[in-house]
């Protein structure tokens, strides 16, 4: 797909982490591959590429979504936020990122960007009411290392601080 036959290419215009981008992509390209391959934003991970692990979670128009199931061509005109857009402009870590470090909420780190993007959306929605509610709402983000306890503590720490 790096040198696609032009007959099935299309121009995609979107905003990524506040910056307008314009990319010519194969119609089959997913948003995940556009981010990683065309924009070199490697923070969003490809875990299963079938919508079953959540590692590819990004925000599209403010909603958490799976970028592996989003055709790039149909994301035209959208605002996308990735893990690279979470820290401040001077590199200052977001309180949730700081909490992940504080609570040792990762081992290999592969699921971590997706966990953070998912958690940010959950915090913006309101709640979570308690750990059980959080685990349920985060159930679309798998962690093969089993760092769930640290992940949940980190998010609850930020959620409680916000109250």
């Amino acid at each position: 797909m790096s040198h696609p036959d032009d007959s099935h290419c299309t121009l995609v215009r979107l905003t990524v982490n506040g910056r307008p981008v314009e990319v010519r992509v194969d119609v089959r390209r997913t948003l995940l591959d556009l981010l990683r391959e065309d924009l070199s934003l490697f923070g969003t991970k490809k875990g299963c590429d079938l919508g079953q692990c959540g590692a590819c979670t990004v925000h599209i128009d403010g909603e958490r979504r799976l970028s592996c199931l989003q055709l790039a061509a149909l994301a035209d005109g959208r605002e996308v936020r990735t893990i690279e857009g979470v820290a401040g402009p001077d590199g200052e870590l977001h309180p949730l990122q700081q909490a992940f470090i504080r609570h040792d909420a990762m081992q290999c780190g592969f699921c971590t960007p997706g966990q953070i993007m998912s958690a940010l959306a959950i915090l913006a929605e309101g709640g979570p009411a308690d750990e059980a509610d959080l685990r349920e709402r985060l159930s679309g983000n798998l962690c093969r290392c089993g760092a769930y306890d640290g992940i949940v503590k980190a998010i609850m720490d930020v959620a409680d601080a916000a109250v």
Binding site: T30, T57, L66, L69, A121
Partner: protein
């Protein structure tokens, strides 16, 4: 994935013209179609993005609840009016998929989602649903995504939707529109058991779209629930599920509806059995006998017959919960 043309109509006429080609597929949230395209199960020549059509109405009035086909699953799950008037729908949608998927997935897409049968999803096995007459690799090699009710010699795949089970219990209507005009069907009439035509899943005609579902609201729908049982606590399809509604007056059953998910090739309901319960007291024994009757005819292997006692228990549990609400 095969390359395809993209069409993004803003008007129905344009959409129906684009969908007229049998090699066309409608896409909305993409959580169903993109998955199947990656697996090679779907190879459309043309993908028609229907997300710009005016199909996102969402309102309640004296007539009932009307949910447009493009309303997202999460919007349905979060709506307080749905929670108050038809909790089985809220509970069913919330129990399905993940938060990320529910944000993208639409009501129409939920109704049209494909089975999770691994032989259907795989590329190395005969499948009568994909190639009529080629055989069914699942028969004799069954597991949790296979049905114990509504089976045929050609196909035993479960319809995996939770929402459809709740809609069936609440007597929903599916509204359709095509180049030829409008029509409506009950949910029960919309789905087809595989029989001799396992490639035909629903009454949706070529080039037709689901426009909305309509749910009548009443004291029955207001006392409804969805109970989903599965191997994992979340983010998994049902091994067995129950969408139930119960209206009790003067200590006796005035109205009752029970639909099963995860166990049938289509969502399963027997109105004849429900009618026999009217006027009776809502006892555990009554519910147990009803569950036995509802599951009558279930057939499968050691790998799938566990669903029968599981479903029976779920029916009793759901109806008892509704009795005490």
């Amino acid at each position: 994935m095969q390359p395809f043309e993209i069409v993004r109509p803003r008007a129905f006429e344009e959409a129906f013209a684009a969908l007229a080609d049998p090699g066309s597929r409608a896409i909305a949230g993409g959580t169903g179609l993109v998955d199947l395209m990656k697996l090679g199960v779907e190879r459309p020549r043309r993908v028609v993005d229907i997300s710009r059509l005016p199909l996102a109405e969402f309102h309640i009035d004296s007539d009932g609840l009307r949910i447009g086909a493009l309303v997202s699953n999460s919007a349905v799950a979060a709506d307080m009016a749905v929670r108050r008037n038809a909790p089985a729908i809220s509970e069913a949608v919330l129990s399905g998929a993940s938060g990320q998927i529910r944000n993208a997935a639409t009501v129409g897409g939920n109704l049209m989602q494909a089975t999770r049968c691994p032989y259907f999803r795989g590329s190395a096995w005969p499948c009568n649903r994909k190639q009529p007459g080629s055989g069914c690799a699942a028969l004799g090699h069954e597991e949790a995504s296979h049905a114990v009710l509504g089976r045929s010699a050609q196909c035993i795949a479960v319809h995996p939707s939770d929402l459809v089970v709740a809609l069936l219990a609440l007597d929903a209507t599916v509204h359709l529109r095509g180049a030829g005009g409008y029509r409506s069907l009950s949910i029960a009439g919309f789905y087809r058991q595989p029989g001799n035509t396992p490639h035909v899943l629903s009454a949706l005609g070529a080039g037709e779209l689901i426009t909305a579902v309509h749910v009548p609201l009443s004291s029955l729908s207001r006392n409804s629930t969805y109970l989903k049982l599965r191997h994992r606590a979340s983010f998994e399809f049902a091994a067995a599920s129950v969408g139930a509604a119960l209206h009790i007056a003067d200590g006796r059953i005035a109205d009752i509806a029970v639909a099963l998910g995860g166990v049938g090739t289509v969502p399963w309901r027997r109105r004849d059995l429900e009618r026999e319960l009217i006027g009776h007291r809502p006892t555990e024994a009554l519910f147990r006998d009803f569950g036995n009757a509802l599951l009558e005819g279930a057939t499968g292997t050691d790998a799938t017959m566990f669903k029968v006692p599981l479903a029976r228990g779920a029916i009793s549990r759901a109806l008892q919960d509704l009795t005490h609400r």
